[in-house]
């Protein structure tokens, strides 16, 4: 297997002026092209983990840390805060609070301006990122007058313009209505198909199960489970101990596992429908 694009080696972290260990001995490898979901209760350390991958922690905020975080082989501890912005980008929960510009076009250009990109390169990348994110007809609109889904897609476009190989979305859909949420999931699925590595923190386990390949489950600063999503969600009773539920269709099938004579419950709606339709054939169910 190739080297991981993101690698945590026994990484621990404590925020400044606190004693609490928020990341505790993290070991995790994420490989190029993976679609990884990170779930866990609030204060489990999910956002801290994400911020550690882009170098915000520990360089920007300070605090105490131990161990290493490597992005594409670069040890972020040795980058003095610059992180690996050409490799990895992050989109936060509240996109609106990130915006500073008057138009969608300027907003997408903003990070590139800071990095001193050539004007012609910026123009090309604005068009490309706005097209990918479905914003090409909105370049002259105010970022603050977009819908929630459009704002999140703009936040993704701003990152995408820097052409990172890894995109992290930290609870980017939690404030969106179902239409906006689906817009974001569909967009990242498309970016994943184009070969990008996607790391997504989200509370919606049904959507996570629908899209991700690998699941990382956190609790109290530790990774308690990291496995293929279809295997991780089988461990319903284990996850319940940490206040984490599995998709509704998985829960239902696991509760009927004996009757259905299955080893593994489906984690996606489509697969659950197929399974149960077959099982109901020949029964008296009407």
């Amino acid at each position: 297997m190739n080297n991981p694009i993101v690698e945590f080696k026994n990484f621990s972290y404590i925020y400044p002026k606190t004693e609490k260990i928020v990341l505790d001995g993290i070991n995790l490898s994420i490989y190029e092209g993976e679609f990884v979901g990170i779930i866990g209760c609030n204060k489990a350390g999910k956002s801290t983990l994400c911020q550690s991958m882009v170098g915000v922690l520990p360089h920007l905020l300070g605090g105490k840390w131990d161990g290493d975080v490597l992005v594409d082989g670069i040890n972020l501890g040795e980058t003095k805060g610059a992180g690996a912005t050409d490799v990895i980008g992050i989109v936060f929960q509240d996109a609106e609070s990130q915006f500073t510009q008057e138009t969608v076009e300027d907003e997408i250009a903003f990070a590139m301006c800071n990095f001193g990109y050539e004007r012609s390169v910026m123009r090309e990348r604005i068009i490309s990122a706005a097209t990918d994110c479905g914003l090409i007809d909105m370049l002259d609109r105010s970022p603050f007058k977009l819908s929630g889904g459009q704002q999140q897609r703009l936040a993704v476009a701003c990152i995408l313009a820097l052409q990172p190989r890894v995109i992290i979305l930290d609870e980017s859909t939690s404030q969106l209505d179902p239409i906006g949420r689906d817009e974001v999931f569909n967009l990242v699925a498309k970016l994943h198909q184009q070969g990008r590595t996607i790391i997504m923190v989200d509370h919606n386990v049904e959507k996570i199960a629908e899209y991700v390949e690998k699941l990382v489950v956190m609790d109290k600063g530790k990774i308690i489970l990291a496995d293929k999503a279809e295997d991780a969600f089988q461990k319903m009773e284990f996850l319940e101990q940490f206040n984490i539920r599995v998709p509704q269709v998985t829960e239902a099938c696991l509760k009927m596992k004996e009757c259905l004579e299955i080893d593994k419950a489906p984690i996606k709606l489509e697969n659950a429908i197929q399974l149960l339709q077959i099982k109901l054939e020949g029964t008296n169910f009407e």
Binding site: G40, C41, N42, K43, S47, Q93, D94, S97, S147, G148, E171, S174, Q175, D177, P178, I179, G180, H203, E206, N243, I244, R245, P247, Q248, V249, E251, A252, K255, M256, E258, C259, L260, E261, L269, A272, I273, L276, Q277, K279, L280, T283, N284, F285, E286
Partner: protein, 279 residues
């Protein structure tokens, strides 16, 4: 008007200064001590409607009645003691420098005694598990805790009616369970809870009645089982039912009755399979 109606609107119309008419002659009744959810896509008029209940918005036409009394011209300060409103985005609500300060605002404004304020803060912070956060700056808290603080800040002055705008947004499973406990507690104590939500899993399991809105009008009202069975309405309002209901719909083409929870689903289908557990 029936006796137990706590809020009623009559031919409510609201047109924003932009010219957009967000409510088009809405007649709705909210009963005392019920837990009701208002659902619909963005722009359907949900938030505009409930903001009339505590005076945040004034109707262009029509009337609002609280306990049968016309309160159309009453101000927010007159109505908010009775009707507490928790905003969707906690950052739009928080302005104190400590969580304790945030929790004190409501009871102070309504002239609670210092003793009553201390008692209310103790009770609410214990219930919502934020005792350790009381001296922290609210803006340093994570999003979920901020959200819980905003709910707590309204509960401290014990409004008869609690309006929660997208209460589950950003909440984890533990946060959702706390929210459910709060709603149950409010119900047991005789309060009325009105939720606006896109979270159909939560709404299906935690509402007695659902009001569906589309394009400024109410297009359906009823128990969750009834509302989620109406495919035409769901389509019109662009509502996605909970995943377990979608599974049930796909299997039970006759749609004799719907299952709103995993427990219901397992009960309905388990008996269909010849091999029973334990065999």
């Amino acid at each position: 008007m029936s006796e137990n109606v706590i809020i009623k609107t009559s031919k409510l119309v609201h047109t924003y200064p932009t010219g957009v008419t967000a409510l088009k002659s809405v007649d709705v009744e909210i009963k005392e001590n019920e837990v009701v959810s208002i659902v619909g896509q963005n722009g359907s008029g949900k938030t505009t409607l409930v903001r009339h209940f505590n005076g945040l918005l004034k109707p262009t036409e029509g009337n609002i009645y609280l306990h049968g009394k016309d309160v159309t011209s009453q101000s927010v300060s007159q109505l908010s003691k009775e009707v507490g409103y928790v905003f969707q985005n906690p950052n739009h609500q928080i302005f104190s420098t400590t969580v304790r300060g945030e929790l004190e605002v409501g009871p102070h404004n309504f002239q609670f005694s210092e003793q009553e304020i201390a008692k209310a803060i103790k009770e609410v912070s214990e219930l919502m598990k934020i005792e350790e956060d009381l001296e922290k700056h609210p803006l340093t808290l994570d999003y979920t805790t901020k959200k819980i603080v905003t709910i707590a800040s309204v509960l401290t002055f014990r409004p008869r009616i609690l309006i929660l705008d997208e209460p589950t947004g950003g909440l984890d499973q533990a946060g959702r369970e706390i929210l459910t406990k709060i709603i149950q507690m409010m119900k047991e104590r005789g309060h009325t809870v009105i939720m606006i939500s896109h979270d159909m899993d939560y709404v299906a399991e935690n509402s007695e009645r659902i009001i569906v809105m589309s394009q400024g009008r109410i297009i359906k009202e009823g128990a969750p089982q009834e509302v989620f069975l109406d495919e035409e309405i769901l389509k019109q309002a662009q509502i996605e039912p909970p995943q377990i209901m979608q599974l049930d719909f796909a299997l039970d083409v006759r749609k004799k009755r719907s299952t709103i929870s995993v427990q219901d689903f397992v009960k309905k289908y388990k008996a269909q399979f010849p091999k029973q557990e334990g065999e």
